[in-house]
């Protein structure tokens, strides 16, 4: 799946996204930063699904948004097909946006309640002035069919749909411009379990059909395992481990990944009985003031001397298996 000779579609290099904390009424003083994403580096290959997991607040969504330039990154670079897109402005950025789209978490908040489904899906086409007015309607109907909705719904409003249907509308909007790369920001966590599978299967079918590349952000480990080719684990703004899914699930190296995976229930009562959970102590430190050395040193069960002093390097321990830990 993730062989080394694959073409790199998106390259993220030392990406940093800090949100400033300011004080003052008119004159804002800069008093600190929330280091939501603090120097992460990885590649996404064409046609693959990279799963990005981590607990709430670790910077997964921020990473996705910073890659799409919805936030202006504080530092680092993002390359799309070898071309740097960080710092792009105006028309250049708009051109790039056609190639990269996003699917949002909350299907209730991500559709404008005042617009018809037809207008919502046609918006990308209008903004980029693609197709004639009359052809757009046909294209929207086609997209509705692609995501498994009745084209008859074109004049309906979002509040007339269920959560799963709304998420399909969001997917259709993301597909309208024929993008190469889609960031799916927890696209199923707001849905009922019975609907989750449908949307996951839809995303997989679309990937096959259109050769899409996904960055799939989630915190549901079994879903990530199902859909991803490779999986990256984040903790407190940093990547701790990146490997293809089999390696990661069979041989997790970073203590955080091990703890995370030990929390996944196993659908086999015999094995489930023997499953040992690694319970982490304490809370995630504040991203405003991360600990010195390894970010995980405050909670790591295998912590030792260098962890408090030096930040571990994110290095390739085995071919295709990257870990940031002093143990390796």
């Amino acid at each position: 799946m993730s062989s080394d000779n694959q073409e790199v579609l998106v390259k993220v290099k030392d990406l940093k996204m800090y949100f400033p904390i300011t004080q003052g009424i008119v004159i804002q003083r800069h008093v600190g930063d929330i280091k939501a994403v603090d120097g992460i580096t990885f590649n996404i290959h064409r046609g693959e699904t990279l799963g990005l997991v981590g607990e709430s607040g670790c910077g997964k969504s921020t990473t996705g948004r910073a890659i799409l330039q919805l936030y202006t990154p504080t530092g680092g670079e993002v390359y799309f097909e070898g071309e740097e897109i960080t710092g792009l402005k105006g028309e250049h950025l708009r051109k790039m946006r056609r190639r990269m789209q996003m699917i949002f978490q909350d299907p209730y908040a991500s559709l404008n309640p005042r617009m018809t489904v037809g207008n919502i899906i046609a918006e990308p086409l209008e903004v980029h002035n693609i197709l004639k007015r009359s052809e757009r309607r046909d294209r929207v109907k086609e997209l509705l069919e692609v995501v498994g909705l009745n084209p008859y719904f074109i004049n309906r409003y979002p509040h007339e749909f269920s959560g799963g249907q709304r998420q399909r509308i969001g997917v259709a909007r993301a597909l309208a411009l024929n993008p190469d790369f889609i960031v799916a920001d927890e696209p199923i966590s707001a849905l009922d379990v019975s609907i989750q599978a449908q949307v996951i299967n839809l995303l997989e079918d679309l990937q096959e059909q259109f050769g899409l590349t996904y960055l799939f952000i989630a915190h549901d480990l079994s879903v990530v395992r199902h859909i991803s080719d490779r999986i990256a684990v984040m903790y407190l703004g940093k990547l701790v481990e990146l490997a293809d899914r089999h390696t990661l699930y069979d041989n997790p190296m970073h203590p955080y990944t091990q703890a995370l995976l030990s929390a996944v229930p196993i659908p086999d009562p015999v094995i489930e009985e023997k499953r040992q959970r690694i319970i982490l102590e304490g809370d995630v430190p504040s991203p405003q003031n991360p600990p010195k050395g390894c970010n995980f040193c405050t909670r790591c069960p295998k912590v030792f001397e260098p962890c408090y002093e030096q930040e571990p390097e994110f290095k390739e321990v085995e071919p295709g298996h990257w870990v940031a830990c002093h143990l390796y």
Partner: protein
């Protein structure tokens, strides 16, 4: 992947419902609001067709008929009034102390009140919404500065400013001094029957509250994911503001503005009452009440028409505003 064609009988035939049509349906069920709207339409029609349903001359003095009343109004008068009353059935509501027809003046007074209601609310809605949109959408330092300006204006003693403005311009008008600008303002004012300064005064203040509300609404909407989705698609700011933010905030803003209209009408009446409103002989309900108030014991019939008209109009606007609020923004309902 595509859905199979649905058989004909399962085709969904229900019409799509927009939030707007939902709101209108809710409004239709609200009897009080519908009644108020009907009353307001009547008042508007009366104001428009005033020349046809009245004598058409609100300033005409029939000095022989001053302080007369028609016979049907006798029961409204105080006991023992027959001794001093003079009757004249030419005027259905009677005539005031200068012999002017009260019916005509009351109907023409509706023009002033409605003009104030429409102009003041439009100005305040437009200016306030645009100001609030910019402040809320741009954010950061621009937002901070713009909102501090609003805070500053909010703390201004508005009534004193209006009194000073009115006194100054009235003085300019009387003495013909004040330079080109003052003269131009006075000319505009006179061509509008003294209403221009009223609009100016009311408009000057009321956009402020609107701007605050609009800004708050923008702040709550612009963080929504559909705005982010539009950005991800590459939509320019103008499009985001007009397609995504404005349609989602305009409902509550219109409701707030409608509920503020009675305030404007009262403000005009109040300013006219204390002599800072429209110029005589233009009839305004405030002026009429002010003129009739001293004679409340002897001639209550002169006070009644403008007072009733004012009450009914403001009540109708209030009920309509309530109805609109319930229809357009059900969450605001307590």
């Amino acid at each position: 992947m595509a859905v199979a064609e649905l058989p004909a009988h399962t085709q969904l035939v229900r019409k799509p419902r927009s939030l707007m049509s939902d709101s209108i349906n809710r409004l239709r069920k609200n009897k009080l609001a519908l009644g108020s709207i009907a009353v307001l339409i009547l008042i508007v029609l009366a104001a428009i067709f005033a020349p046809y349903i009245t004598t058409g001359d609100f300033a005409k003095q029939d000095l022989m008929a001053n302080n007369t009343i028609p016979h049907w109004m006798l029961p409204l008068m105080p006991k023992g009034a027959e001794q001093y009353l003079r009757f004249n059935d030419d005027y259905i509501l009677g005539a005031d102390d200068l012999g002017r027809d009260l019916w005509t003046r009351t109907v023409y007074g509706a023009r002033i009140s409605l003009a104030v209601a429409i102009v003041a609310s439009t100005v305040s809605l437009l200016v306030g919404t645009i100001y609030g949109l910019i402040s809320g959408y741009v954010g950061g330092t621009a937002d901070a500065v713009m909102m501090r300006i609003v805070d500053f204006l909010y703390g201004f003693p508005f009534l004193i400013v209006v009194i000073l403005l009115q006194t100054y311009f009235k003085a300019v008008a009387r003495r013909g001094v004040g330079g080109g600008f003052g003269q131009a303002m006075v000319a505009i004012n006179e061509s509008m029957g003294g209403m221009f300064f009223l609009f100016l005064a009311i408009g000057l203040v009321n956009w402020i509250g609107m701007a605050r509300i609009a800004r708050g609404q923008v702040l709550s909407i612009r963080r929504k994911e559909f705005v982010e989705a539009a950005k991800a698609v590459g939509a320019p700011d103008i499009r985001i503001i007009f397609r995504h933010i404005l349609p989602n905030i305009i409902g509550p803003l219109i409701v707030v503005e409608t509920l503020a209209i009675p305030g404007y009408i009262f403000l005009e009446a109040f300013l006219s009452f204390i002599g800072l409103g429209v110029d005589a002989p233009t009839p305004s309900w405030g002026i009429m009440i002010s003129e009739a108030a001293p004679g409340i014991r002897t001639y209550p019939n002169q006070l009644l028409p403008p007072a009733l008209a004012l009450t009914i109009t403001t009540l109708a606007f209030n009920f309509m505003g309530d109805g609109l609020r319930d229809a357009f923004d059900p969450r605001l309902k307590e």
